[in-house]
């Protein structure tokens, strides 16, 4: 069997140099996705006229089309319609694309999480003189957040892996670097296994973080 374990170990330091870029893409895209997703969820939950219909079209479109197609639409397609977009670099396009796509998924998760909070909680807030905004901020959103975390975590893990699609726009990230090293050394299995292990490790570390967060947030609900 032709497997060079020593070579595989040697490539890790080079690959890990690209980890920060992958992390930046994933975390920045996730922050935007959470913000947009929450807005969409509040709009759909409260059935805000006009915005509600628009939000549904947005969610439907970005959930139903392949991420790769969306990225190409943004990076290669938009500059054709709006020349000013040609100034946008590949990394920005990737982050925008991943934010939009994942916001559509998160919107559905957040809406379900908001629905899972008993309406009596809002009524109790209003009954002691809080405004709806205060009720959401102090009581409803914290409770919904706890319900949203497991599914949102799945979305984040998916997002981390999707950052590898940025390579198709020419972003020199973790997977792109692996591909270059593989073409140079022709040790495909070693390189791609190493790349896979980096993603795997990242997900394991994240899962531990999420577990800790879940424990912390569910403290009030444990007997």
């Amino acid at each position: 069997m032709n497997f060079d374990g020593k070579y595989m170990l040697e490539v890790f330091p080079t690959l890990l140099k690209y980890l920060p870029l992958t992390l930046v893409m994933a975390v920045v895209a996730m922050i935007f996705a959470i913000a947009i997703g929450l807005l969409l969820a509040l709009v759909t939950k409260n059935r805000v006229p006009v915005l509600y219909q628009l939000a549904n079209v947005y969610i439907s479109f970005f959930r139903a089309t392949p991420t790769l197609v969306q990225l190409f639409l943004i990076y290669y397609g938009l500059p054709q319609l709006f020349p000013s977009f040609s100034a946008m670099n590949a990394l920005t396009a990737a982050i925008i694309g991943l934010s939009i796509k994942n916001s559509a998924y998160l919107a559905e998760i957040f809406r379900a999480a908001l629905d899972s909070v008993d309406n009596g909680q809002l009524e109790a807030c209003l009954a002691v003189g809080m405004t709806k905004a205060q009720a959401y901020r102090r009581i409803i959103l914290p409770q919904a957040a706890r319900n949203a975390i497991p599914a949102s975590g799945n979305t984040f893990i998916g997002l981390v892996k999707e950052t590898s699609l940025a390579f198709t726009l020419g972003v020199a990230e973790l997977f792109a670097q692996g591909k270059m090293m593989a073409s140079a050394s022709l040790k495909f299995f070693e390189i791609y296994l190493a790349v896979a292990i980096v993603y795997w490790a990242l997900t394991i570390v994240y899962s531990l973080l999420q577990e800790w967060l879940e424990k912390r947030l569910s403290k009030p609900y444990k007997n």
């Binding site: 009524e123 009954a127 002691v128 003189g129 009030p220």
Partner: protein, 250 residues
């Protein structure tokens, strides 16, 4: 003081409140009784606009509001005149007992944490739950949760407290502790509107009983008048029905 004039509410074709007029004096305790579906809970929920009335005027404390057209600000102002105790307690699940009581003080009255805590602890003491201040609702029994909910309602120092079947969801052995707390508050001349099925309690604690059926006030009077000498046949029938099970057993 509460004054309600010609209050109307309809759910689709069903008329739930068919022109209700009520006046409650400062410090008066009024119990509302009646068969289920008579509109008594809806009436209470219209007073703090958890249901929006179709017509009528509501005056509570310093707030006056004419349904159905009112601004968000008016609604908020009216809600701040009252506090509500719910059938299902509805304690904030992500807050401790103490935080449940202090939340509104800190958020709506902009009180300092230390000041709010002092008031909160005193109120928990009053409902006999000082030792549970740091417990989360899920660890409390139904009776304890409802007592915290009563403390939460008292915290905002409302013109009136609206109690919507406060003991209906409780196990029978927990009813007494909650009624006792309500009775103690009633004795302090807190204005209260209580929707209840506990007739003996209503008789004991209320200055006036209102009997509702089919969205209307059928009859009202002092507990003695209404329970012992009901005038309206509808009231007589209702009181007979609720005492029927006991005679059925014997």
């Amino acid at each position: 003081m509460i004054k309600v004039t010609n209050l109307r509410k309809q759910f689709n074709d069903l008329v739930v409140l068919d022109g209700i007029d009520i006046e409650v004096a400062q410090g008066e305790v009024v119990a509302i009784i009646g068969p289920s579906g008579s509109g008594k809970s809806t009436l209470l929920r219209c007073l703090n606009l958890l249901e929006s009335p179709d017509a009528g005027r509501i005056e509570i404390g310093q707030a006056t509001l004419d349904a159905p057209k009112y601004s968000r600000k008016q609604a908020h102002h009216l809600r701040q005149q009252t506090a509500m105790v719910f059938q299902n307690y509805n304690l904030f699940k992500n807050r401790t007992a103490l935080q449940n009581v202090t939340e509104s003080l800190i958020i709506t009255k902009k009180m300092k944490q230390s000041e709010a805590d002092k008031i909160g602890r005193a109120l928990l003491e009053q409902v006999g739950l000082a030792h549970k201040a740091d417990s989360y609702p899920i660890t409390l029994s139904g009776g304890q949760q409802q007592r915290v909910a009563i403390a939460r309602a008292l915290a905002v120092d409302p013109h009136a407290i609206l109690l919507d079947e406060p003991t209906s969801a409780l196990d029978p052995e927990l009813v007494a502790e909650v009624l006792q707390v309500i009775k103690a508050i009633a004795e302090k001349r807190t204005t209260m509107l209580i929707v209840t099925h506990e007739m003996a309690f209503a008789r004991q604690v209320a200055d006036r009983i209102i009997f509702m059926a089919d969205g209307k006030i059928v009859e009202q009077g002092t507990p003695d008048e209404l329970f012992d000498r009901p005038q309206n046949p509808r009231t007589q029938r209702f009181l007979q029905q609720i005492s029927a099970p006991a005679s059925f057993i014997s």
